[in-house]
Amino acid sequence: MELNDKLLSSYVAFENRVDTNSDIHEIRSEAFQNFEKLGFPTKKLEAWKYTSLNSVLKQDYSLFPNKENSIQLADVQKHFIHDIDTYKLVFIDGKYSSFLSETTHDTFDVCLMSAALTKPKYKAVIENYFNKIAKKDNLTSLNTAFANEGAYIYIPRNVEVEKPIQILNFTTGSEAATMLQPRNLIVVEQNAHVQIIERHQSLTSNPVLTNAVTEVFAAKDATVDIYKIQNDDTNASLVDNSYIEQKSNSIVSVHTFSFGGNITRNNLNFYQRGEHIDSILKGITILEGKQHVDHHTLVHHIEPNCESHQDYKGIYNERSTGVFNGKVIVDKEAQKTNAYQKSNNVLLSNKATINAKPQLEIFADDVKCSHGCTIGQLDDEALFYMQQRGIPEKEGKALLMFAFANTVLESVKIPEVKQRIAKIIANKLNVKIGFDL
């Protein structure tokens, strides 16, 4: 059965498992109808011109993996940022694992979407925030239709969460192919601060398709730092739809590290509803083989005196392909906007491809907006310099790539994450340089 049909027919089964007499379910049903109408995106859509999901949609996915899995800490521990004390929300095949998670706290909520959607305690927050900024496009609608499980994080006023929160989604391969649709909601109230690390990881080479939606609300003076680590198996594909709304004086940064996976599509959307907001979007992409990553960013400057900073670095080897589509909208009212966008790419092979497209829609007249896309090879002069000092070509290239990616790595605020990323980069480049990058 085609995935489209399978999803439509399994909706009834899904409805048997959730409370259908709720406001939430009305939202789901509406989203379901929307997806029924729209179907999966095809390359005919401008936004999907360079990314085809066809090969991914052909798999016979299990939509609600149900087999018992006996995952032990040892199986997944290496994917944790475990050198630091963190809160952890661990999902195994889409189901919460209390055994692997760690959520002990009292001043804020780190819990499950399934609980938040049903328990009265969370009702007010859900009513105010759930599905409020998520787009009504096809894949977001599909996620909303089946929205049931994921991370729910609520940080009240003035609370500074001292430890990062990890959201970890593992697939065990207990099914021949698995489709997951985690739904996350993160609400950070006035002057609160939180750091979040997000990871999707398949533990086998069985195909996985994840269609995730995350909504983030940063109230006045809030600070939110999100790190997305995408270093998955080459049979795992991910569509990550993130929607972020910011109020005055808030600072939100999202770092996306795309090192692996089959097809990865990041839809990262920022909406600035207030003044003196700072939005930071950074990424490092290092691909090989036939991997494909598509970064679609949107920053919507709605009010005056705000900033956005985008800095994406990409290194593409072999037959890998990348897309950077960065859209910046500056509304007429959004005077004194500073919007910066950079996409710098290095192609290491003749067969690698990058499609970079800045899209600026500026309706205000007193703004500073810049964009720059570069595509090049590694600097021969710099490589010669290193070789002259006795560093062989391969190691020299690795050092240069590291240096190239460094402006993004530099702004990572959690040292353990920075080290982890540096280590992944070193592994990726397959070199032992003689010091820890």
Binding site: D379, Y385, Q387, Q388, G390, A403, N406, G434, F435
Partner: protein, 249 residues
Amino acid sequence: MLKIENLQASIDNKSILKGLNLEVKAGEVHAIMGPNGAGKSTLANIIAGKDDYEVTSGTIELNDEDISELAPEERAHNGVFLSFQYPVEIPGVSVTNFIKTAINQTRKAKGLEDMPAKEMLKMIREKSELLEIDRKFLSRSLNEGFSGGEKKRNEIFQMAMLEPKLAILDETDSGLDIDALRIVANGVNKLKSEDNAVIVITHYQRLLEYIVPDFVHVLYDGKIVKTGDASLALELEAKGYDWIKQELV
């Protein structure tokens, strides 16, 4: 040490070196001077193995071994060091980590284990003192935001760490104020021994007051057209190059 015979090289079919001969023995300091565009930097780059140039004839021997087919890193492993006129910036890699990598990769090529950390630290301390380099400087990203003088001093620091047999200083004096020049020259002199050799490429006599050459060569139009002792540099400083050009006619 170094023996170059009838070296001819071109870039993009433009002939730059036109039959150059040069012999440098262990323990010697040679200065190469000459007008802009004579081929001085080309010569330095070709000895170091940069592949932008096409060597159309001639040989380059280092300690009786032909090195003209070796990769730049192999030449470095054999003891060739080139102090760059424009050192490259490498963000995110500290001076210390870079030099550690360079030393250990060189050791690896010789079948040696990594230098023990303690020994490395001791060496870094000694050599940075020699060049009056501040410790904070060593943890900065390589050449990033360095002043011209800092870059050159860092080049000589690396040279001190790598202990090459043949060091080529390509306009190391440009961009240096008089204090930095003195420090750099002092460093080079202290590293000088009977077992190594230095080639100084410069436009000016200034550096040669501190690093006194045994031979001064004038490179003009791709060839060495005149060789003398240190006094030749003074003469060039006073009279320029025109008289040499006229001598050639």
